[in-house]
């Protein structure tokens, strides 16, 4: 049992989430291994974000169990103690608009740790440089940042407390292919250096192909296929086939064959 806990960063069992009569997540099971990058794909409005938000305790579930790094997650205050163990990159960045970039990154540090201001500044600059920004960018306000920079700052803030897991909600959406490629590379690098577990909701076929160790496909409220990209390409599930063998996915085919 101890062995199993060590192996998995997130364990979801028999999860049911719904809004009124409408069931979004239907008896779903999912394991995320420690140190892997898991990509989650699914139809728009199919519950990907709902699943992610349920795992981090923002949405109440109707049944099932969720464990993150071996401790159970509930939709209540106890979840707050878990906040130090994960970092979340929201789709729009969710940077606090009244704080500078540096203050945004320092916010989790300031709230959770007792540090001197000098050290706090150094840590913030270190995080900024780790996500590929310059120390000067620390004095900017979120409204002055480009889309790619916003995502990088949000990632730096998500990593402020050196969490074991980061959740990324469509990290490359709204970025041009070059910026998206750079961001993918950054995620991969940080995952290696910091030993992170990454849970990534995405529609970007290129990210799935390049950075994800495993891909999980969510359809009809269940995980219908999970495994490395090449296994998913062979999947017989109709939705997964449609997703990976549609017109837009042709670029994946030569590699798969």
């Amino acid at each position: 049992m101890q062995q199993a806990d060590e192996q998995f960063a997130i364990r979801v069992r028999d999860l049911v989430v719904g809004f009124r009569r409408h069931v979004v997540i239907d008896h779903l099971a999912l394991d995320v291994r420690r140190g892997e990058i898991l990509g989650l794909v699914g139809a728009s409005g199919g519950g990907k974000s709902v699943l992610m938000r349920t795992i981090i305790g923002l949405i109440a579930r109707q049944g099932g169990e969720i464990e993150v790094m071996g401790s159970p997650i509930n939709h209540d205050r106890t979840t707050r103690s878990a906040a130090g163990r994960w970092g979340i990159l929201f789709q729009q960045g969710a940077l606090f608009s009244s704080l500078t970039v540096r203050q945004n990154i320092q916010f989790p540090l300031r709230e959770n740790l007792e540090l001197s201001d000098a050290l706090m500044d150094e840590i913030a600059t270190a995080k900024l440089e780790m996500v590929g920004l310059k120390a000067e960018d620390g004095d900017k306000f979120p409204s002055e940042l480009s889309g790619g920079m916003t995502k990088r700052v949000a990632l730096a803030r998500a990593l402020a407390l050196d969490p074991a897991i980061v959740f990324l909600d469509e990290p490359t959406s709204g970025l041009d292919p070059i910026a998206a490629g750079d961001f993918d590379a950054l995620i991969k690098t940080l995952q290696k250096t910091l030993g992170l577990t990454v849970f990534m909701v995405t529609h970007d076929l290129a990210s799935l192909n390049t950075v994800c160790d495993r891909v999980a496909a969510l359809a009809d409220g269940k995980i219908v296929a999970i495994g490395p990209m090449r296994e998913l390409l062979q999947s017989e599930h109709p939705w997964v086939r449609a997703y990976f063998h549609g017109k837009r996915s042709q670029m994946l085919q030569p590699r798969a064959s």
Partner: protein, 378 residues
């Protein structure tokens, strides 16, 4: 699992050997900072510093940075610093941290406070000029739209106008009546309380009548409308601007001024005189009730005195101002709405600006009218 961090320093043959141990992670940040600061003080006596990482159980960016910082301090003090015994899974992190914080950014050039203040004043002057231009532009565009409608009366958006009238007129009545009723009652109460000392209670009717009909009725209602409907206009048009709906309208060959602003402003211009009239009645009613129950002056006497005290002129002076105030509120609200940029913050900011500006302009306008009416003897 997490263990308390340790840092032992042993000095041998001029080499200071540091042995960090335990969990060098953010969870122990306070202890770690103290430990590393303490040990830095011992650097002076040593020729070389060696950091043996073998004992470190857990390491994160914070711990790695503190170790790196110690090494850098030793280096800058002229000692040689080595980090040895790094576990394989932390090599990447140590290497990464070695790259950061290398370059101190040039501090922002300090501005001369006098120059900064002057530049602020200059900027706000230019800003004020831009405000006036924007106001005049909107007024001009509105006039053109009105001319267009006069030429082709069928192009007036009657549905939209009716709907806006319903919103800013009909739906505003309850709150306007309530507020003006209270204001009338308060004025009457204060008047009775203070006039009684001179035995001049009955002049309260004159005061309430003239004050409400000439000034307060329309002013209070205009301020209410600026806060209630002006802000709504700015927010609506601003969010349409944000979502490029206004650009979409223009590309379809329609004039946003004619489609969106004209019905809104016309509705305000129609609604405000009506609301002022209703508001003034409510205020007089409130004053009458207070005079009756608090001052002991029956409604019949109140009405008779009111008949003597006020003339149609007073009412005219008040109600003439209403459409002009409505025009100012409408123009400010619409032009602020069009100034909204892409972000939600700017929508909020512009809405606030719209309300503040229109209330300010309404009061200024009221002052100008007071001067005007005084000089023509009304």
């Amino acid at each position: 699992m997490a263990t308390a961090p340790l840092l032992t320093a042993t000095s041998s043959g001029g080499t200071l050997e540091l042995r960090p141990a335990g969990s060098w992670t953010a969870a122990n940040a306070t202890t770690l900072e103290r430990l590393s600061n303490d040990v830095t003080l011992q650097f002076d006596g040593a020729a070389a510093v060696k950091v043996d990482m073998a004992g470190v159980r857990e390491l994160d960016t914070l711990g790695a940075w503190l170790l790196e910082k110690m090494a850098r301090r030793a280096n800058s003090a002229g000692h040689r610093a080595d980090i040895v015994g790094v576990a394989d899974n932390y090599v990447g992190l140590i290497d990464e941290v070695r790259q950061v914080n290398r370059r101190t950014p040039a501090p922002a050039p300090a501005r001369n406070p006098v120059v900064a203040k002057l530049s602020d004043i200059g900027r706000s002057t230019i800003g004020a000029r831009e405000d006036v231009t924007a106001f005049l532009q909107m007024l001009g565009a509105l006039c053109i739209a009105i001319l267009g409608v006069l030429r082709r009366p069928r192009s007036l958006r009657l549905t939209s106008l009716t709907y806006q009238l319903y919103r800013v007129g009909w739906q505003a009545i309850p709150i306007v009546v309530l507020i003006t009723f209270l204001i009338g009652a308060i004025i009457a109460q204060q008047g009775i309380f203070h006039f009684r000392k001179f035995g001049a209670d009955s002049y309260v009717v004159d005061m309430v009548g003239i004050l409400v009909l000439r000034e307060l009725g329309v002013l209070i209602v205009a301020i209410m409308v600026a806060g209630r409907s002006g802000s709504a206009y700015t927010a609506e048009l601003g969010s349409m601007k944000m979502r490029e709906e206004i650009d979409a309208l223009s590309t379809m060959g329609l004039d946003p001024i004619e489609v969106l602003m004209l019905p809104r402003i016309l509705a305000l211009v129609c609604a405000l005189p009506i609301l002022s009239f209703i508001g003034s009645l409510a205020a007089l009613y409130g004053g009458c009730l207070v005079a009756w129950f608090y001052g002991g002056m029956g409604p019949a006497i109140f009405l008779a005195r009111l008949h003597e005290a006020v003339s149609v002129t007073h009412f005219e002076v008040g109600i003439i101002k209403a459409p002009f105030m409505a025009l100012v509120i409408g123009i400010v609200a619409c032009s602020e709405g069009l100034r909204v940029k892409g972000s939600a913050e700017s929508l909020g900011k512009q809405t606030t600006t719209s309300v503040v500006k229109s209330i300010f302009l309404v009061i200024v306008l009221d002052g100008l009218f007071a001067v005007f009416f005084a000089s023509i003897g009304m």
